[in-house]
Symmetry: C2
Subunit: 245 residues, 2 copies
Amino acid sequence: MAKIEVCFTPDTYGVYSNNEHIVVVTDILRATSAISTALHHGAKEIIPVSTIEEARAYKKKGYLVGAERNAVQLEEFDFGNSPYSYMNDDIKGKSIVLTTTNGTRAIDLAKNSYQVVIGAFTNFDAVVDYLAASGRDILILCSGWKGRYNLEDTIYGGAITQALERKGVLTEIEDSALSAMYLYEMGMDDPYKFLMNSSHRRRLKNLNLKEDIRYCLSLNRTDVIPIYKDGKLIPLRELQLMDKK
Amino acid sequence: MAKIEVCFTPDTYGVYSNNEHIVVVTDILRATSAISTALHHGAKEIIPVSTIEEARAYKKKGYLVGAERNAVQLEEFDFGNSPYSYMNDDIKGKSIVLTTTNGTRAIDLAKNSYQVVIGAFTNFDAVVDYLAASGRDILILCSGWKGRYNLEDTIYGGAITQALERKGVLTEIEDSALSAMYLYEMGMDDPYKFLMNSSHRRRLKNLNLKEDIRYCLSLNRTDVIPIYKDGKLIPLRELQLMDKK
């Protein structure tokens, strides 16, 4: 008995909120893509924070800090949210603090659900397999863009819906997930082109993020599943090791 | 310079709110379809109220009152929100009070915008022509279902977007409106069948609303454009007559 819904912006999360379902937080461009990349490349954990002030406080304490607003890295910090900046050896074993325009807020909202999973195309199959095995209801929580709906997070929700539907584990697909799936199916042959026809085209083109976007739309670069635990995002396998001890 | 966006549920209206744009409130099944029908059939005005208590107070004062919750008419009142119940001669010249699960709340939220227009497939072309002539930015405000996204209001937003795009009056189509348009285009050959595949199918089938739904999806039964003015919904032409005096 697994139901799937998509919440298109964090502002409506209150309507969907419950403590039984798994929430997959997604911010395809680029927070959740970057988070799965950083953990794949050996970061010990990601500490998501909502404000610049919190990020600054961690920076003073000596943490590596990523901070992005309006798709641009803030200069005083170590990273923005480009996945490419989380691919170097300096991050191995380190705790990384991250604040972004949209994604970290969504994580914060969902933390009282049964479990928060960080989802992106870059860890697609791993998340699908985990959700399918869980048997739980699923909410895809899109980070959106400053409270607004966006297409890239939506098609990710649609891709997850389609994959779980094909596995035969869904008993209910709500209107939101059905719509997201339809939109994904329209764009799945060339998601890059599909997104470039969207209104974010201008924003994304202006920022010269083409390489980032292509990376964020590529499937299965990693099988790491970041899970929220006590204020941190850690790989699921670390959580499982902790539980065994 | 006209931009169009779709707000999928009233809960996110705050993000889109401004006092320059025209807000088209829609609740296809069935509040806004019923409102345009009632004004077409001679009702003087519709007074939307949010609560059952307000509706009851008006009833005591002798008003005709429509009240619906969970798609069912409340027994103590005169109507539910079936458009068919607003087609009889008893309503001619009368003020009708209306409260519904979703639609009246959306109207209330949007009342500080430049103008609130009531939109449905049943008054489709009239609303499109009015919006095209206005030159203003447009927000389609979907009533949704208890704070959740629904497909029927979304495809109405998509239909409006497509019609205005074809008229060449749009300079910006936001992701939300673009997605709605894509979904409308998927279902436009047979919107009834398209909706019946949605999750609301069970709710709608259970309530035996087939005739209502077919009516609510039919185009251009009227050219009346209900406009919000001082707590009431009146036909645009009445507003124009008042302005001339």
